[in-house]
Symmetry: C2
């Protein structure tokens, strides 16, 4: 099976599981369930859940039920997109080529839908049935830290907001992106590894893979914002420069940024070498992330 076919098969599993874990549209109060589902099923590639499942498979033969744990990452990711798009934050009208949640359901409902997805992520982890309570609690802790203010996603979001208009410096850029996108991508690998009962050195290796892939992902994201059209991206291109965001192209230039992404790709490969064939899909995903066009 080609990597594209494989990823598609995994996306289908995640979509079906998300559908099962999220309240139905007709369940009252239905407006919020419609808003949650609108953003959750807006065409995401499910990168984080698939990385989570692959991490579990790198260390365990049959990590039954991993797809449910993996969905918690997509619930967090989706809540963060909804809140980031709000007028008070990035003020985006489009996301993946569709109107953003607050444009369709209004700001109040978008705020609450984000809160609800965040809450549901932890409920899902706490209710996993195939692993023991210690691991359920450990997954909650990992996800909360990856999403929180201390080196986590929210912390990165704050640094990003406060960095607007500041001089483009490498140290600040690194702080922002390690937290803003890096922590949840790294967390995706760690949740999968913990679910699969990874040993310490395996958990470290998968964390390192996550850090390199996370950095590559963000560099490519910044480069695409400069080079691509809004149509190709499905969101407004050129927003970073307009908002005076600190980006990799702004600090290093486009060509050097591309070299850096390639270097991170190679480091990601090296990090999972010990897993041999079991990390085949992880290596392919690193390649795809660096070479994507949108």
């Amino acid at each position: 099976m080609s990597v594209k076919e494989y990823l598609e098969s995994q996306r289908v599993i995640i979509d079906a599981t998300l559908d099962r874990l999220t309240p139905r549209e007709e369940t009252p109060p239905s407006t919020i369930h419609r808003a949650m589902r609108y953003s959750l099923f807006a065409g995401g590639k499910r990168v984080r859940p698939i990385l989570c499942m692959e991490a579990a498979r790198a260390v365990s033969d049959a990590p039954t039920g991993i797809e449910e744990a993996a969905c918690a990452l997509e619930l967090i990711h989706t809540y963060s997109l909804i809140h980031d798009d709000l007028p008070a934050l990035d003020n985006d009208d489009y996301r993946r080529g569709k109107l953003t949640c607050h444009k369709v359901f209004g700001e109040a409902m978008a705020i609450l839908a984000g809160d609800a997805l965040l809450t549901l992520a932890f409920e899902v982890l706490s209710a996993l049935t195939m692993i023991d309570g210690d691991r359920r609690a450990r997954l909650v802790k990992e996800l909360a830290r990856a999403s929180g203010t201390l080196g986590g996603m929210i912390g990165g979001q704050v640094e990003d907001l406060e960095g607007e208009g500041k001089p483009a410096e490498a140290a600040l850029l690194n702080t922002i992106h390690t937290a803003k996108t890096g922590a949840l991508l790294r967390g995706s690998l760690r949740l999968g590894a913990i679910y699969g009962r990874a040993e310490m050195h395996q958990l470290s290796a998968l964390s390192r893979y996550g850090e390199h892939v996370g950095l590559a992902f963000q560099i490519v994201d910044d480069v695409l914002d400069v080079e691509q059209t809004s149509e190709a991206l499905g969101k407004t291109a050129g927003k970073d420069a307009e908002q005076e965001k600190i980006t990799f192209p702004a600090v290093y230039g486009v060509e050097e940024s591309k070299r850096m992404a390639e270097s991170e790709r190679q480091k990601a490969h090296a990090a999972v070498e010990m897993f041999g064939d079991r990390a085949k899909r992880l290596r392919e995903m690193a390649d795809l992330i660096v070479n994507r066009k949108a």
Copy 2:
């Protein structure tokens, strides 16, 4: 010790624990930590955490560490106040006599501070050290459900928003308040009971106490909004009528609402009769909640 002295001693314990569990203001990114602490230490009475601790004490001799679990309830309560006060929701400038979070830190930071408190609540539960993983995970599940869309706090918030301007009917009023304020108050008792290893019949009794006290709390809140001045409440009085909210006075009138609160107080007492002296403070708290003036 009088009940007022006792509650004050418990409030001090909760405040000290919240202070220990929340990142320091000077820790980067400091703006969000200042915003979180601004709202967290804005003079709350800590009703939910104290109910949680008392529930644990009703079923266990020495529920060591319960104050940490109890703080998760205040973190959730505070996040919900920050988000409720936003311009897109209730648009309140004052809360407990102080400017609301978004008035001081801006809307973007208030949204993120709420998200961060919500996330921290689950981190705190997942990291409890005095109980086993099964109970940690169970507490996470209880709190997520009490805060979520299906009969939980967010669900009630949505029904409340959508109820504005609708005819004041008893059934809708009940749906809104059972979820909006009732679920987290009931959850406070349940978290404490689970922490203290309650037996099933004890958990049910404490849940029922929570339901009655929660209903009494909301009825009194609605009555105070009609009868008290903004100065006495520390927030804008008369907002319910202005926003055409469905309230107990609107459906039943003020006098009947007061009778209903008294009836709930008595039912709360009856629910915890089986615990004898161990529920003394719970009975006193039900009395205070019904007789409060702000």
